[in-house]
């Protein structure tokens, strides 16, 4: 199978990369009707599978799970997840032929095998749904021409998809119809209904394309979302140990720090996060983040280039064919880092202290968010997509680190994200070696403001504030966040 994106002429590549439209609330007025009474069969019951299914059923839709034989016979976790929550479970042979909509929520690397196994059972004119376009775009999977192929991709981990739904909201979601597979023209209506069923319509929906979703999603997760959080956390911890900070304190600062710091992004974007610092600290964080942007830009660009050319997916699939040799090695290494092995100490760290004593992470986050956004936009991805894949998702991923450190983050994210995260981490650490030599405990571990009188140059501060606020990620972010909160109050289901 050929990489779908690479088979397209440039004109069409740009055309599909540029699909990006923020959908009005009124477009969801039909609720779940397009799927009401239809049989929805989800393949796979993991992080996304279980939580999307719970939401769909709670929205009044008919949901069951088709699992592979081994999972049913071995009563694996996926089988337990589904049956213990009172879902009907069956084999492909039993359930797929009855399905109007088949939802593929297995790990991305398995998609070719899974789709080949289920396609013969799918009825004429049914629909196949993905939550990530990897299989279609990177592997060029060909789907039978009578089948409609759509995507509904929630921009958050599965647990969040569920918790936000139950709070009466949802998570921002990308939807798309594969242009090669929309024989009856019903794809968009079904994608919208599915999106309502999962609650996504209450948080902002982008009409996207398979291509745009894949190329931006891979970029975000490899760089700012997972890769940089991992690198930044490990380097910060090691620096504190090197400089004699108490290991329990260091471990706690790093584990919970990213969550507290990135929480500020949710409300006020990058400038909101920087505003949590004192004036001198903000100026310092700004300067080191500028330096970090210069150092890391080529690496961000390399990741984006490899994603665009298909090089990334090729190497990842090769590693998989090789028994996941690199993936398993890197996973083991991550589990063995000093940060991972040092338990958080029993010390109280106040909310503001996480900012004041962890300036380095604030700088990492500003640099990473802006770089990821800039690099995506330069590559032809639209600002709205780039915002969701960078700034928006950062606090959600940071939350997983707070729960159980990097192990938890890598468990929750998808297999492609995990591989890309390690790839970035491997390259980024050596790249930052010289920079890290210049870092002392005033940036990580101790209060930066200590012993300073707080005076700053007015003109400099004004200029910095301006740069922060006028960055394109801030401009599009203000618009999207406003749309999201306005939507929170409107109930359409």
């Amino acid at each position: 199978m050929a990489n779908y994106f690479n088979t397209l002429p440039l004109r069409e590549q740009l055309n599909q990369l540029g699909v990006c439209e923020f959908m009005e609330n009124s477009e969801f007025a039909d609720g779940v009707n397009a799927l009401k009474g239809k049989k929805i069969v989800i393949v796979g019951c993991g992080a996304q599978g279980l939580n999307q299914g719970l939401n769909l059923r709670d929205s009044g839709l008919d949901v069951s799970y088709a699992l592979r034989k081994e999972a049913i016979e071995g009563k694996r976790d996926s089988w337990k997840n589904a049956t213990s929550n009172n879902f009907k479970v069956g084999t492909y042979e039993e359930l797929i032929p009855t399905a109007d909509l088949v939802v593929n929520l297995t790990p991305d690397k398995q998609h070719t095998a899974v789709v080949n196994a289920i396609m013969p059972f799918m009825k004429q004119g049914s629909t196949l749904l993905y939550s990530h376009g990897f299989n279609i775009v990177e592997e060029g999977m060909q789907i039978r021409k009578d089948i409609t192929v759509i995507m509904v991709a929630p921009k958050s981990p599965g647990s969040e998809v569920r918790s936000e739904y139950l709070r009466g909201f949802g998570v921002p979601t990308l939807i798309a119809v594969h242009p090669e597979n929309d024989p009856e023209g019903k794809g968009l209506a079904q994608a919208k209904a599915y999106c309502v069923g999962t609650g996504g319509h209450r948080a902002g929906v982008l009409r996207s394309s398979f291509v745009a979703e894949v190329k931006s999603d891979l970029m975000g997760e490899q760089t700012i979302l997972c890769g940089l959080l991992q690198t930044g956390s490990i380097l910060s911890f090691d620096k504190m140990i090197e400089k004699g900070i108490d290991p329990g304190y260091a471990s706690k600062l790093v584990q919970y720090g990213v969550e507290v710091i990135t929480e500020a992004l949710k409300h006020g974007g990058v400038s909101g996060m920087m505003d949590r610092l004192s004036n001198p600290a903000k100026i310092k964080a700004f300067k080191i983040s500028e330096e970090l942007k210069d150092i890391m830009r080529p690496l961000f660009q390399k990741h984006q280039d490899d994603i665009m050319s298909g090089e990334f997916s090729k190497t990842m699939m090769e590693d998989w064919a090789n028994g996941d040799a690199n993936l398993l090695k890197w996973r083991a290494e991550t589990g063995e880092t000093a940060f991972e092995k040092t338990p958080a100490g029993d010390v109280k760290i106040g909310e503001q202290e996480y900012f004041d004593n962890y300036l380095l992470m604030v700088a990492f986050i500003r640099a990473g968010v802006e770089l990821a956004f800039e690099t995506m936009v330069e590559a032809g991805i639209k600002a709205e997509s780039a915002y969701y894949e960078s700034l928006h998702e950062t606090p959600l991923i940071a939350n997983t680190i707070a729960r159980k450190k990097l192990f938890e983050m890598n468990r929750v994210i998808s297999d492609t994200a995990e591989y890309g995260c390690y790839l970035f981490d491997q390259a980024c650490k050596p790249l930052l070696a010289d920079f890290m030599k210049t870092v002392d405990t005033d940036l990580v571990g101790k209060n930066y403001n200590e012993g300073k009188d707080g005076s700053v140059d007015n003109a400099e501060l004004v200029a910095i504030n301006e740069v922060l606020r006028e960055h394109p990620v801030e401009i599009v972010g203000r618009k999207l966040r406003k749309a999201m909160t306005a939507m929170k109050a409107i109930k359409t289901v």
């Binding site: 279980l50 059923r57 009172n86 918790s163 929170k488």
Partner: protein, 505 residues
């Protein structure tokens, strides 16, 4: 604030407070308060909502500051830890770091990956941190009837069970000064008696107690009584701590005088309902019918399955998709969404309160009940905004309607949530221990409101433990025991839990 710790002398009072002053916004809460707690004294303290009981406790425990002087004198010769421990009236599990992202229905969802510690692991950790002997905890666990919870995940505990866990920790640690805010809330009759015995034992070993409660059945070790009214007014006995109900009842808003718009005569029907988590069965063969307009009391020990039962009704339980469950006349899972169900139900429970987003104002929180979401940002149409205003006035919340919910005393927060519950004039009102954490006076007022609100023919299911804490309108009772229906009967006068309940253990 001056805060001193001295280690030397047995002759010194345990706590010596001089000229303590505290203001909240523009109100004086504590005014030049003086208090001497001598060794051998164990105090019972009460005061109206907003009198600063909780603040005073937190100030002594060093968790809040104020103007004035406090000396705490620990006994250096004692084996007991030289510590002040404060047990909150209403424990917010959410406060644990790193688990803030739970949602309240999560404990009903079967997830293979375990996210929180078990009770036993949590206690082991606590014991290790404080050098305690685990066999002593075992004794407390058995005494308080907590053995069944040993292997439960923290997330699976109900609020009453969380409270017990906090009490077990406190009684195990035996700090030299132990302050418990509303020790009895959420505990059933039997647990209350056991708790009193354990508190007496702790006092005999040298723990100084301060209990904040107006319960007449305090442990016998309690020998001093005081009312907090800006300063401390000492009284002779627990009976004198009872406060007069002073809240006038207002005219009920017009839109609540209209009966709810019922679509079916049958509200709930359960036929042989079973619910289990893995091996653990929490509900067994439940058969129960609730018809329109009926007023039910639901009772049972902590952990008897009450909250699971209610979660089936409110669309919060994934295992509700099963044969034999009918809501509002329709089998569950016949195309209705949970939002359709919630639109007909008003619910509050301690767990719901835990997870409610308390960063909105009182007004916004009430308005959000119209949409079954948490908090609200959009402007409401005039007719709906007016309903919110009417309710705010009826519940006496006008003065604080623009205050952030989370900054208010517990009683006001509960009134706000009750108002939120009622705003859509629901067919079914579910009040699951709505008065947990409230004192008796607040409870009485709250229940009077419930009586009034239900007089339009609304259907009610009310969970409550004690006779004083029940509204008069209740007419039928269902009692659960270990996940089965023990009693279904008519009640004319609400009683305490049946006599045989008190003999358990």
């Amino acid at each position: 604030m001056e805060r001193g710790f001295r280690g030397e002398a047995m002759k010194q009072p345990v706590v010596h407070i001089r000229h303590l002053n505290l203001k909240y916004k523009n109100n004086v809460v504590l005014k030049d308060l003086n208090w001497t707690i001598n060794r051998g004294d164990n105090w019972l303290l009460n005061g109206i909502s907003g009198s600063g009981k909780t603040s005073l406790a937190k100030i002594i425990a060093g968790q809040q500051s104020a103007v004035g002087e406090i000396d705490i004198n620990f006994d250096t010769t004692s084996k007991l830890p030289a510590r002040v421990l404060y047990v909150e009236s209403w424990y917010q599990f959410k406060n644990l770091e790193g688990v803030a992202n739970f949602y309240y229905q999560q404990r009903y969802t079967n997830l293979q990956f375990k996210e929180t510690l078990t009770v036993k692991a949590e206690l082991k950790l606590f014991g290790k941190e404080n050098n305690l002997d685990f066999t002593e905890a075992e004794v407390l666990i058995d005494a308080l009837g907590y053995s069944g919870q040993r292997d439960s995940q923290l997330i699976e505990l109900s609020s009453g069970e969380h409270k017990k866990l906090q009490l077990i920790k406190a009684l195990w640690l035996k700090p030299q000064l132990l302050i418990i805010d509303q020790p009895y809330t959420g505990l059933d009759v039997n647990s209350r008696k056991v708790l009193n015995r354990l508190l007496d034992e702790a006092a005999a070993e040298g723990v100084t107690l301060i209990l904040i409660s107006n319960d007449e059945h305090a442990p016998s070790a309690i020998n001093r009584f005081a009312l907090l009214e800006g300063t401390l007014v000492e009284v002779a006995s627990a009976e004198e701590l009872q406060l007069e109900a002073d809240q006038p009842l207002r005219e009920i808003p017009g839109f609540l005088k209209v009966p709810p718009n019922y679509s079916s005569d049958h509200i709930v029907k359960m036929v042989n309902i079973n619910i289990s988590y893995g091996e653990k069965q929490v509900l067994k063969n439940i058969n129960w019918e609730v018809n329109k307009g009926e007023k039910w009391l639901l009772q049972g020990h902590n952990g008897s399955g009450k909250s699971t039962l209610l979660s089936l009704l409110n669309g919060d339980h994934p295992q509700a998709y099963t044969d034999g469950l009918y809501l509002f006349g329709k089998p569950r899972g016949s195309g209705e969404s949970i939002w359709d169900i919630k639109q007909r139900i008003g619910l509050i429970s301690p767990e719901f309160h835990w997870y409610f987003d308390s960063s909105s104002t009182v007004w916004q929180s009430i308005a959000s009940g119209l949409y079954d979401n948490f908090g609200l940002t959009l402007e409401l149409p005039y007719s709906k905004a007016q309903k919110v205003d009417e309710l705010v006035a009826y519940f006496g919340l006008t003065d604080i309607k623009n205050e952030i919910l989370g900054t208010l005393p517990l009683g006001k927060q509960r009134l706000t949530l009750l108002a939120r519950t009622i705003i859509k004039d629901p067919e079914l009102l579910i009040l699951d221990e709505p008065c947990q954490g409230l004192d008796q006076q607040q409870t009485r007022y709250f229940n009077q409101l419930v009586d009034e609100l239900c007089s339009n023919g609304m259907t009610l299911i009310y969970v409550g433990h004690y006779e004083s804490a029940l509204p008069d309108t209740l007419e039928k009772r269902i009692v659960l025991e270990k996940g089965t229906v023990k009693i279904i009967e008519d009640i004319n006068v609400p009683e305490t839990e049946p006599a045989d309940f008190q003999q358990v253990n």
